[in-house]
Amino acid sequence: MQTIVIFGGCSAIAEQVARIYATRGAQLFLVDRNEQRLEDIAADLKVRGAEKVEYAVLDLTQTDRFDGCLEQINKALGGVIDVALIAHGTLPDQSACEQSVDKTLLEIQINAISTIALLTKLANQLEQRGAGTLAAISSVAGDRGRQSNYVYGAAKSMMTTFLEGLRNRLAKHNVHVLTIKPGFVDTPMTASFSKGPLWAKPEDVAAGIVNAIDKKRNVAYLPWFWRYIMLIIRHIPEFVFKRMGL
């Protein structure tokens, strides 16, 4: 049976991914920081058919606790991780970050450093086994820096580049590395935004993630049209782009 570990297991997108694996009868392990929510999600996944669901409560900025956490995960999943999904994240208040180095660095810590720390450890385990998938949710925001959102964008682009390198390293070891780049998704993270036609539902993005894992895709823009939107945005010359109010 498949074993899945999800960091940021309470994320709205990740929860929908977990439901798909639960109906397939997988064994799941969730890591996030809200214990009550972890308990609720674990109960739901069991009802939906998961063979086993365990969780750990951890603030993922505490990189020094990753070894202990991974030990717990391996114990629960019998030492085999088929899919590791990294989904935790926060959407920074950009203007607050502009006024505070601490805030900016904390956002980079949550959205990039913690992910890189996790990937570093997980990569070695999967490399050794010579199998499995490492998937992480980056964002279209990492494709180009914009004034409204560049702290988040920079963290995501660090993640994207790191994943790209990791894929290059692990391909020969039969380890699949997937970079997930969603566009706008209607989740608690974006609760305060007004929604338009470009917005996707977490369950649809989740179906796209599982499909990309199953098909061993390298980079998945979700929904697919974001690949083309970002293609255009990336090709606007910088002397024009810098004057745009994006």
């Binding site: 709205a12 009550q36 929510r37 609720d40 999600i41 109960a43 739901d44 009802v47 939906r48 608690p188 609760a191 929604k195």
Partner: protein
Amino acid sequence: MSEFQSWGCYPKVDQKGVSMSDRHQDLPKSDSAILPFGNGRSYGDSCLNADGVVVSTMALNRFIDFDTESGVLRCEAGVMLWEILDLVVPHGWFLQVTPGTKFVTAGGAIANDVHGKNHHLKGTFGCHVRQFELLRSDGQRLCCSAKENADYYAATIAGLGLTGMITWVELQLKRVTSPAIAMENIKYQNLDEFFSLSEESDQDWEYTMAWVDCVASGSNIGRGHFMRGNHADASVSLPPAPKLTLQVPFTPPISLINSYSLKAFNWAYYERQQDRVKSAVSHYEPFLYPLDSILDWNRIYGPKGFLQYQCAIPYDNGLAAMKDILRLIAQAGFGSFLAVLKVFGDKHSPGLMSFPMRGVTLALDFPYVESKTLPFFKQLDDVVVQTQGRIYPAKDAHMSAELFQAFYPQWRELEALRDPKINSSMWQRVTQEI
């Protein structure tokens, strides 16, 4: 305009929408009144809160526990009926009662105490709700059942969302031999025949209802197709669910329903079957949820929207009342594609304000046409009042305070248990001083 509308897209109100995604949280704080909002499948204004806040429960959609031995399911209130069916059908269980669409939430099904094609045997949805948690705006959480907080249990079932937010529910499911339905479709000539078919079927057939040609008049009044079905034997394999789902992609600028399309459709629908009786084994979806295969079909009525008229009439007055109502509709040449007729049974609901009564119910849609629809409804209301019937709040956007208070004299008991921070457009309308 609010993204939260009712199914009829009438009336249109300004309201704010917020979402609740954690059942352990308090209700959102607000200066104006709030109202729980499920999937907005109520037609009129019972799920609307003009100038207030609606609290969406769609993210409260986690299962909590499912005992595959006893068929007791506990889930959050925003779980939809289709999700429950997807989970329980493979284990040999089924919903005891389901309305004509699977796109409603468990919480919404309780708040309107919905009924289905098996009302004559199984009563309403509320009859099978073992317990639920009610969250009040002061933070109190009441576990409600027939034994515990029984007053809130009764007031919340068919309580139109007014007593508080249902956070989780516990349902008793029913064992079925098969999810497939062995059905018969009987083409019948007039209302008398409808009543005799109902009488003959109500003992042995779990699901019964009729589609009525609302254009037919004279001696043909009330003619239609009577459908009856039972869960098939275990040996019958489940036919595949129809794959094709259509969607009405956008709202056309005007209603596509007019007297010509109406006549043509009703005639074609009635005449589609030549034999009197046709038997088949069907997947439960097209049998129980025929309209769900066309997503967003409510858009065909155009931007002005539509209203549904659903009344129940005591059994003894049923034949006469239905004749009068259908005559008025045929004369006006105004109505909808299909009217639904069904005989209700006498199983008592725990809900204080439950709509069904031992009798017969008719439901049909009307496009909203200014200066036409509401005056026409007044004529129908007169028949309902004279025959001691009542109107279904889940479908209503027009009932006057006078009518409502006559139909539901127990409304003051609900008012006494209403959460002081909760209100709805409908409640404000129908509880005005008369």
